[in-house]
């Protein structure tokens, strides 16, 4: 009998495969290691990220689901809640103890009832509606707030880039 973290990840993988939510594909990079996943997230419709397919990598801790996984986009991203290196900064990925941005309610933090699916859905909604108060990427946050057109243009360029189209 394998560890509980592994069994839970297997269960989630199975569930995500059998009943995938719209616009999200996720699974372990290799069946040998269930603690590193790759996810593809489709940009939500009606937003500046529409049409894009954004690859991301999820790394699970050994004590998952007691601790949250880490998520990092592996493509270029320009978004108020995504660090320049691709790390995603949303409250669902933060353990209730630490609060890197100092504003989050503990009610929206990680808890073991969360899941990969919920994380990815939160990321989709984060793409649709950035939270410009948290500001993982301050440039992006300011641009999103003050020069929306410019931001949209950058986002559309990124979308084309993820699709391998010329800008």
């Amino acid at each position: 009998m394998a560890g509980s973290a592994l069994r839970r990840l297997m269960a989630e993988y199975k569930q995500l495969t059998l009943d995938p939510p719209e616009g999200i594909v996720a699974g372990p990079i290799s069946e040998d290691n269930f603690f590193e996943w790759e996810a593809l997230i489709a940009g939500p419709e009606g937003t500046c990220f529409e049409g894009g397919v954004f690859p991301a990598r999820l790394v699970f801790p050994p004590d998952y689901p007691l601790s949250p996984p880490k998520m990092k986009f592996t493509c270029d991203m320009f978004h108020p809640n995504i660090f320049a290196d691709g790390r995603v900064c949303i409250s669902i990925l933060h353990a209730p103890g630490d609060d890197p941005m100092g504003y989050e309610l503990s009610a929206e933090r990680w808890s073991p009832v969360q899941s990969v699916e919920k994380i990815l859905l939160s990321v989709v909604s984060m793409l649709a509606e950035p939270n410009d108060e948290s500001g993982a990427n301050v440039d992006a946050a300011i641009m999103w707030r003050e020069r929306r057109e410019e931001f949209n243009a950058i986002a559309r360029r990124l979308v084309r880039k993820t699709l391998g189209l010329p800008p």
């Binding site: 394998a2 973290a5 269960a11």
Partner: protein
Amino acid sequence: MQLLLSSVCMALTSAVIGNAYYQKQQFYPAVVYITKSNASMAVIYVQFFVIVFMFGKLLRKIFLGTLRAAEFEHLLERFWYALTETCLAFTVFRDDFNPRFVALFTVLLFLKSFHWLAEERVDFMERSPVLGWLFHIRVGSLLTMLGILDYVLLIHAYNSTLVRGPTVQLVFGFEYAILLTVIASTAIKYVLHAAEMRTDTPWENKAVFLLYTELVIGLIKVVLYILFVVIMAKIYALPMFVFRPMFFTIRNFRKALNDVIMSRRAIRNMNTLYPDATPEELRQSDNICIICREDMINHSKKLPCGHIFHTTCLRSWFQRQQTCPTCRLNILRTPAVNSTAMPRAGDEAAVAAAAAGNAAPAAAGAQPAGGVPAPTPAAGVDVNQAGANGPLAGGQPMPPSFADLFGDATGLPNLGGLSVSPPPVMPMLSPFMMPPQFGYFSSPPTIPLDLTKFTDEELRAMEGHQREHIEQRLRLLQNINLMLDSAGVMMSQYQTLVSRLQLTAVPPPASAAAPSLVEGAASGPVAYDKPSTSASAMAQLEAHQVTPTVGVPPLPAEKVTIEDLGADEDDVPSTVTEAASLPNSDADFEENSSELGELRKRRLKFLEERNRFANEGRPAE
């Protein structure tokens, strides 16, 4: 790259040796020549390191196979730290710095890296889906070998220190002692993991064993480090090079200690405060522990907020945080109020206050308009009586959580905090059994129907502006509130019963089903009523007009509903006292337990309809 470097090194060494031999022609002079020439010695040293490296690779191939990327990364990281620390150690022992000394440190580093790798491997066991026998042989032999080596070197260092007094061997002895503890903990972990893998069920106590292993090993390490620092500081200088590992060890030990304390507390709470989930409750919920996503067959606990999880899952979560994983109710600060741990009849005031503590925020959340007369004062009391009942509503974010609960669990907006355990539980329980959640139904506080019937004394107690007067008043209000809530719960029981009966009776519409149906309906009151109290509660209900929505309709209307739903036979006696063939209906309930999900859906639909009806108003009934 490595190949290139080692071949270059090989070539250099052979060049140096060849050169020396060519110049001196004889073995002994050649050796002397090489040792005298610094350049040659440098090449020989480099060659020595390359050989050690290659030897290490060979051992790694034998004992570990290919390293995973993460393992390699961790190895490199730790290796560099260890290397810098070794260099720091050199500064302390600069006086006896010689090749032998360097060689000893190299051996130490070499062994250390294998300890780390063994540790990583064993940790990986828990994450790996399948492990072959090769893995076990490798890890087993590696651990044995490292253990023996550590022991031999430790003894050697000890003897040498005894014979020659404190030298650099002190450091080695200490380092090998630490490594021995590492091997011990790795071996214990290995045994635990391997034992778990042999069974098919999750092994509950493994986490506890691991925790205590960590604690004990951590303690030994901390003691060793402190001893070492003290001894070193006395004999040489402050050993800067152990500060980093010592810091991490102490931190880990503190964490382990904290974990142990937390988990003990969690276990204690688990064993004392929370009831085991009954099979009925399990069947009623979807029976999946949302922490591990596996079926809950046994060993599950129900939290005060009504959420059910595996005991083990909860325990490991409570080591991190003492909140309900679903609704984040702080379980340490919440006395187990609304579920089974409710005291029987004893301390009425405490019960009332405690229940109000739960009910008030919930009511406030669900009915901002203030349908229940006393939500605000009750909440106020809560704060007032914090001394007596613990900080009930003080710092806990209850309203949202309860609101959530209402949203998905009951579908009834104003049932108050008491219905936190979802009403669909009820049909599953035998009507004769007093369901544990409603244990305090046996004695809700009694209130005179007419306020004029208060004794002078009681009235005086509620007059005035002193604190106790106000408390008295608030207590009255709480009692009222409590009774309203209990009435609400009872109504919800009636409703579930009714909807259930309606469902079972659907195929044969009228005559055949009707009697059993009403009997079943009647069973509700018989079972749950302690006549005086519930009657007074009902009276209170009507008196206060707390039923803007139909969640808690007055009793008569409910009776009519029963008849409406069942059949058209108005002549069926729907009196409370008639409870003829109850065991039958009870058996029916049990049989139909499998249809629960469906039932619940229908029930919700039914409730919706009722709501609509109510909004259109049906005074005729």
